[in-house]
Symmetry: C2
Subunit: 101 residues, 2 copies
């Protein structure tokens, strides 16, 4: 998995905003309709729509349209990529000196 610096920022930008973190928490209970999220979120519908776009762009969340409703859920694949990305990015190479370099 080779991600550019730019792609990495897109993933983690999703979690840079308190409202979006809250949305992810709400989705931990399973797939939710946008209107349900809106009820829980003290913001307007366009603002929610904006946040959902950023979450979907990051890959952490996926949307599914059903009639006039939009259902969102946490993406297992997307979150696996994010976790692996974070692990690899913060992994210190074995040949690197400890604190005594």
């Amino acid at each position: 998995m080779e991600l550019t610096n730019k792609q990495i920022t897109v993933i983690f930008k999703a979690l840079c905003d308190e409202n979006r973190v809250q949305i992810v928490r709400l989705l931990q209970n399973g797939e939710k309709c946008a209107c349900r999220l809106l009820e829980a979120l003290q913001c307007t519908q366009p603002t929610l729509s904006h946040h959902m776009k950023i979450l979907c762009d990051s890959g952490l969340v996926v949307g599914r349209k059903e009639g006039k409703w939009m259902y969102y859920s946490i993406s297992a694949e997307g979150t696996d990529i994010a976790v692996q990305c974070l692990r690899e990015l913060t992994k210190v190479s074995e040949s690197s000196g400890c604190c005594c370099k």
Copy 2:
């Protein structure tokens, strides 16, 4: 480990900027002096200092002062917290319906 939404945003804000992602990559090879990072980074010294502050605030990076030099490295503890935080945040509860809710 109970982090607030705000604390979570502070962690991931560190990785929302391409320059900071690049800095973390540079630190994968081990502890580095600020002046070394500056050489590799096409930005001014105050800008680097600003980014290092955000990285340290996130806990992903730690700084160590030695004389007039400042040495930075990836924090094993901080990155473990970040990975665990990301895992927990994106974990879907077992009782949640699949796609058929």
